[in-house]
């Protein structure tokens, strides 16, 4: 039985201007000890996915359908109270901006103690000792002294470490990190990514990392899921996505990123236009207005929604072009330009 299984998850928000389809039929699975990278630009629905797995949209205005199986339990139909008891214990989350994600008026120690004592009936003293251990585990110097300081007294990197300590305090089996290093400097980002890799190994937790930075995804993920317009448009192992991508949007992402490990190309290969609004998602394939190869689909691109089809060994793509056409275009037109 897979540890985490999503089946056709849909999360729609009715608003004054219409129905926002943030997640529009998402399915994937994840085993413990493995890392899934979810990549997508702003407004692709990646953050809503993570929050709905945690059940934070339950009972709100959102309309949720489909299934979320966690360790054999279905969460969408489960009671709010039950899902709440799992949050923090079985599954935990790390957020992007650690300064605003921690309460300004309570010490870091108090917030970790609180997280721990929700699920473990222990005295404050025991909880504090555990908090100090956790802070030490995540690499904060003099944890016994820093446990009583406030979030604003920590540097960016230290605060994120404290967030991780809090998330891991109850030894969760699933850890979701939403843009964990976007707000950090590059040297500190590197330290945090190393830390997360080590901790995942020690805690044998399933890790979902959500980011727009292909570099971060490449560093950590075993499998990668590319989201666009609330849907998964390509899913595969890290090598599938970086070595033999088969979706025009993935090509576009790789093309528009300057890379240190490659020679400086004359010009970047941007994708024209801008990401779609989730209220009126373009008809047919959501990416068709920006896809250079749409004419080759003979009009299907703008009318029919392509299915997520397996091309080879777990590598799925949602595109009207045939596998051969895609491989040919990648080999002849895209790959050479990237390497020049």
């Amino acid at each position: 039985m897979t540890f985490l299984q999503l089946n056709d998850l849909k999360v729609h928000f009715p608003t004054d201007d219409g129905l926002v389809k943030s997640v529009d039929g998402l399915s994937f699975q994840l085993e413990r000890g493995k890392t899934l990278g979810i990549v997508g630009e702003s407004g692709s629905g990646k953050s809503v996915t993570s929050l709905s797995i945690l059940g934070l949209h339950k009972g709100g205005r959102a309309k949720i359908s489909g299934e979320i199986w966690l360790d054999g339990e279905e969460l969408v139909s489960a009671s709010q109270e039950h899902v709440r008891s799992l949050r923090g214990k079985k599954m935990a989350m790390i957020f992007q901006d650690p300064l605003s994600a921690m309460h300004p008026y309570y010490t870091v120690g108090d917030q970790i103690i609180e997280a721990y004592r929700i699920h473990n009936d222990v005295s404050k003293k025991v909880a504090k000792k555990h908090a100090i251990d956790m802070l030490g585990r995540v690499g904060i110097p003099q944890p016994d002294r820093r446990v009583d300081s406030y979030p604003h007294e920590f540097s960016g990197g230290m605060r994120q470490r404290a967030m991780i300590a809090m998330a891991l305090s109850c030894d969760p089996e699933l850890l979701i990190a939403d843009e964990p290093t976007t707000a950090l400097d590059v040297t500190v980002q590197a330290q945090i990514l190393d830390l997360m890799r080590d901790l995942q190994r020690d805690f044998n937790a399933a890790l979902i990392i959500i980011t727009h930075d292909l570099g971060v995804v490449a560093e950590l993920s075993d499998d990668i899921l590319v989201m666009y317009g609330g849907k998964c448009i390509e899913y595969g192992s890290a090598d599938d996505i970086f070595e033999r991508p088969e979706h025009p949007y993935t090509w576009g992402l790789l093309g528009s990123m300057p890379r240190l490990d490659r020679e400086v190309t004359e010009r970047l290969l941007p994708i024209k236009g801008s990401p779609p609004s989730l209220i009126n998602v373009p008809s047919g394939c959501a990416f068709h207005p920006r896809c250079a190869f749409e004419p080759r689909t003979g009009g299907k691109g703008s009318t029919v929604v392509p299915d997520l089809v397996e091309t080879e060994g777990g590598h799925l793509v949602r595109c009207h072009l045939s596998r051969e056409e895609r491989r040919d275009i990648w080999a002849t037109e895209i790959k050479p330009k990237l390497e020049s």
């Binding site: 989350m93 957020f95 300004p104 008026y105 309570y106």
Partner: protein, 337 residues
């Protein structure tokens, strides 16, 4: 921290001096500019059939002929050193802080203020606790149930609360509840707390509710806005992600952050209120500082006016200082450099 307090205390003292100088000139210098002679002023305090000599003698006794600066100097000396008062068969020592003697009742002003302070303090204490509790809880509930019937209803009542002056609500309440149904005490009833706490509360429950009704409305709207802000913050989402019960998320995390501005305004409001709830005290005939103020002003009784103005100013300045110090306690990010 200590230097901060010292600097603020010096500022406070300077402020009190300025207030005293300005008030003194309003009542002494301005009339003089409008051509009012010392005898005219003295005339206010003599009987109907007083002869010219009596008026001059009274003006002399009250020292109204001296230059204004001398009179102000004498008043300030009185505050710090005290002064003496000739009451006919003898001379009485008036210990510092001596705010002089009322022109009308000839009573020393400072003891009067001290006698009346407990009334205003009781009124202020009771009312402030009630409006804080009601205001905050209504504010929180309407924030959480945004756009619900409760939210709309509460805000309409809040609007009424803010717009109806206490003397109107007070008198209507008195005639309906006290005299109509007889369930609450009549106007003017006051029993000191030390004497009989039960009666003290019974007599003051109506004034408390009237005063609280006015301010609770403002606090409800303030808390509602604060809560709506705080509940949208990231750390609320983190708290929920930790698996906290919603009630704890609201109470421990949401409210704690939303309360900071309310603590500031509450401190200032109480500071002002302790200077005398003029409208409520008059409506309920409570012999507090507010009532003392209105009688003093109606009779143009200058020492009394100077007295209660200075006391009110003192309370406001102290409240300001306390609120600032409290801020550093409430919000750890604030350091009093």
């Amino acid at each position: 921290m200590v230097t901060y307090i010292i600097r603020r205390l010096i500022g406070a003292l300077a402020m009190l001096f300025i207030v005293s100088a300005v008030t003194f000139s309003i009542f002494f210098v301005v009339p003089r500019l409008a051509g009012v002679t010392p005898d005219d002023i003295a005339n206010r305090y003599v009987g109907r059939a007083a002869t010219a000599e009596t008026v001059q003698a009274v003006a002399q006794k009250l020292g109204l002929h001296d230059p204004v600066v001398v009179q102000y100097g004498r008043w300030v000396k009185g505050v710090f050193v005290g002064s003496e008062y000739d009451y006919g068969t003898g001379v009485e020592q008036c210990p510092a802080p001596c705010l002089g003697y009322s022109f009308v009742t000839k009573q020393p002003v400072w003891p009067d203020l001290v006698d009346r302070l407990p009334v205003t303090l009781s009124l202020a204490a009771g009312a402030s606790v009630i409006w804080l509790v009601i205001g905050v809880s209504v504010g929180v509930l309407s924030a959480l149930k945004r756009r619900s019937v409760f939210d709309r209803g509460a805000m309409i009542i809040a609007l009424a609360g803010v717009s109806l002056p206490p003397f109107f609500t007070g008198l209507v309440a008195l005639s309906l509840l006290s005299y109509g149904l007889g369930i609450t005490a009549p106007g003017g009833a006051y029993t000191p707390l030390t004497e009989n706490p039960g009666m003290w509360a019974y007599n003051l429950i109506l004034p408390w509710l009237t005063l609280a009704f006015l301010n609770a409305a403002a606090y409800a709207r303030l808390t509602r806005a604060g809560m709506l802000d705080t509940m949208g913050e990231d750390y609320i989402r983190t708290a929920r992600a930790k698996g906290l019960k919603e009630s704890k998320v609201i109470g421990k995390h949401g409210l704690r952050a939303a309360l900071t501005p309310i603590v500031t305004i509450f401190g200032l409001d109480v500071g002002i209120l302790v200077g005398g709830a003029i409208l409520t005290e008059n409506a309920f005939s409570l012999q507090g500082l507010g009532k003392y103020a209105t009688t003093a002003i109606a009779a143009n009784d200058l020492p009394k006016i100077m007295g209660f103005t200075m006391l009110a100013a003192f309370f406001i300045v102290v409240a300001n200082l306390i609120v600032d110090l409290l801020y550093a306690v409430v919000d750890p990010r604030v350091r009093l450099s």
